[in-house]
Amino acid sequence: MREITYRQALNEALAEELARDPNVFLMGEEVAEYHGAYKVSQGLLERFGPKRIIDTPISENGFAGLGIGAAMTGLRPIIEFMTFSFSLVAFDQVVNNAPNMFMMSGGQFNIPITFRGPNGPAHQLGATHSHATECLFANAPGLKVCTPATPRDAKGLLKTAVRDDNPVLVLEAELLYSSKGMVEPPDEELLIPLGQAEVKREGSDVSIICYAQTVPLALTVAAQLEEEDISAEIVDLRSIKPLDEEAIYKSVSKTHRVVIVEQDRPFCGVGAEVCYRIQKNIFDELDAPVIRVSQEDVPMPYNEKLEKFVLPNADKLMSAVKKVCYA
């Protein structure tokens, strides 16, 4: 194991999959000559050439659809959205074409495509550039959605996504590109299955269910809680769809108390689905009502103080945990 950044981990995943399979190509805005708006595709043009690392004009709907058409013939496109906030202009392609093709062609055409790019609120980007899109896409049957929070998960999930025979969205955490973590060396194949959560920290008093940018937040809060003798277990979903229900139930059956901390908005958010499934399937395990910590239900303001108020934060999570623990 060696320590690399989240950005490097994604770059390694791309390079390894491009080297492994000639059907894989990377397409998107600024991915080639500019090396990616977030430098995730650094060096790939030089190594794989312009046939496989392809710059596009600003036409998300167009190149997302191009990728889907190419995937109908068996190619395995990786389509980068500069941010998933921009995927909304390609929404028709991503939710109406990619996931429906297999059903409406009677099983003749599957779409082995990966859509990837940064997702979720960052710092003061304003209402149009701060979308957490996971709940929008997870709503569409036929799509798979994963949300890596660490360099290791980013690499392992992206590689798995590229090899999947279905459309997979890899929602990268915009604020975590420079974060570091331990990852297996390149000569050890790292594949992390979709639909497999991971306990990032063991605990006994409360389960904090989180994903993407709320994972480091939950870990920080867990350390603070320990000083107050509250032992928090951190369950990182890693994939939103398929959802690892067993991992959730296992943790909740141990702690009997749950806080879900999510980076998206509260109405029909990821936490609403997780909460529903917990109460439906393991109601008797609960010693307190489930609490969700999410964004406020408003468009994102630009002002720094107001933005902080809207986002989930340590104070909100701390008080939610204390509430479910009656502490």
Partner: protein, 325 residues
């Protein structure tokens, strides 16, 4: 692999008749409530797809919008599989899962049947991109209506297609109406083909009621594309005799206008050409028509007698490996 120029014109006339008679039966079965959802008929436009398909190879990709029954039939999907699809049966060309607007036939390189206007033009770019990526000389035929040319996805796709020099023939089936809105009321251009000029794609206007003109123009363009990959745009002027869909009485146009086009019918035209040249007798034509009517009627029987998929099969088609999430 057959050579396009060898496609027999009498066979092509038979195909146009099959599409016509199939659609008439579909209309009747829709009214009898055997067919659900939406049903958009192709009657009047047969020479467009039959002419285009006659001009290309069997392994060339074709993709179209929701008025797609003729495209599947012309490509070789059986009338039985098409009618069974309309009936929602397991023997349909997508097992009853796609319906009228989503005919697919991988074996015949028919890439659908797409029902969001303009949304399949980027897919066509992808099919052509794949041919170029693999260094194959396939051509992609992308059919769409005059209504698609004002949609954003169409414009984005045309720019990408031109920019990457993709081997696509963009075939605009201009039947003068986007649902009930005439081209004059929807489009700022004097003629649709001018859309291509804006993207530096060579364009041409073709008489879509004339099988031979469509075939020859598509063949010429396809040959040029195979030599050196590039796109082309054909505005094919045609007319649909029926409403936009089965629920549309088409009261936005006059009887005189419809009559004018009926007199210029693509089937009558090709028949007259062949008869004049001594290649077809009246008896032979009648026999072809009888055969088409019979095939259409038999497809109804086949569809009626076919089974439906069991309900538990709905879970098999969300993901390619058949898992549920």
């Amino acid at each position: 692999m057959h050579r396009p120029e060898q496609r027999d014109e009498v066979e092509m006339l038979a195909m146009m008749l099959l599409i016509r008679r199939f659609e008439e039966r579909a209309s009747q079965q829709y009214q009898a409530q055997k067919i659900g959802g939406f049903c958009h008929l192709y009657i009047g436009q047969e020479a467009v797809v039959v002419g285009a398909v006659a001009a290309v190879r069997e392994d060339d990709y074709i993709i179209t919008a929701y008025r797609d029954h003729g495209h599947a039939l012309a490509r070789g999907t059986s009338a039985n599989a098409c009618m069974a699809e309309l009936f929602g049966k397991a023997t349909g060309c997508t097992q009853g899962l796609g319906g009228s607007m989503h005919f697919f036939d991988k074996k015949h390189h028919m890439y659908g049947g797409h029902a969001i206007v303009g949304a399949h033009v980027p897919l066509a770019a992808g099919l052509a991109f794949a041919s170029k990526y693999r260094e194959e000389d396939r051509v992609t035929l992308c059919f769409f209506g005059d209504g698609a040319i004002n949609q954003g996805s169409f414009h984005e796709a045309l720019n990408l297609i031109a920019l990457y020099k993709l081997p696509v023939i963009l075939i605009c089936e201009n039947n003068l109406f986007a649902m009930g809105t005439s081209v004059k009321r929807s489009t700022s251009l004097k003629q649709i083909v001018d859309r291509a000029e804006g993207y530096d794609i060579p364009g041409d206007i073709v008489d879509g009621m004339n099988f031979r003109e469509v075939r020859d123009k598509v063949a010429e363009v396809a040959a040029s594309i195979r030599k050196d990959s590039h796109p082309a745009f054909l505005e094919v002027r045609t007319y649909r005799y029926r409403g936009h869909s089965m629920s549309d009485p088409a009261s936005y146009r006059t009887k005189d206008e419809l009559e004018k086009y009926r007199l210029d019918d693509p089937i009558i035209r090709l028949r007259a050409q062949l008869t004049r040249e001594g290649k077809l007798t009246n008896e032979q034509f009648d026999a072809l028509d009888k055969k088409a009517k019979q095939a259409a009627l038999e497809s109804v029987k086949f569809a009626e007698q076919s089974p439906e998929l069991p309900v538990e099969d709905v879970y098999k088609y969300s993901y390619a490996e058949g898992n549920k999430s």
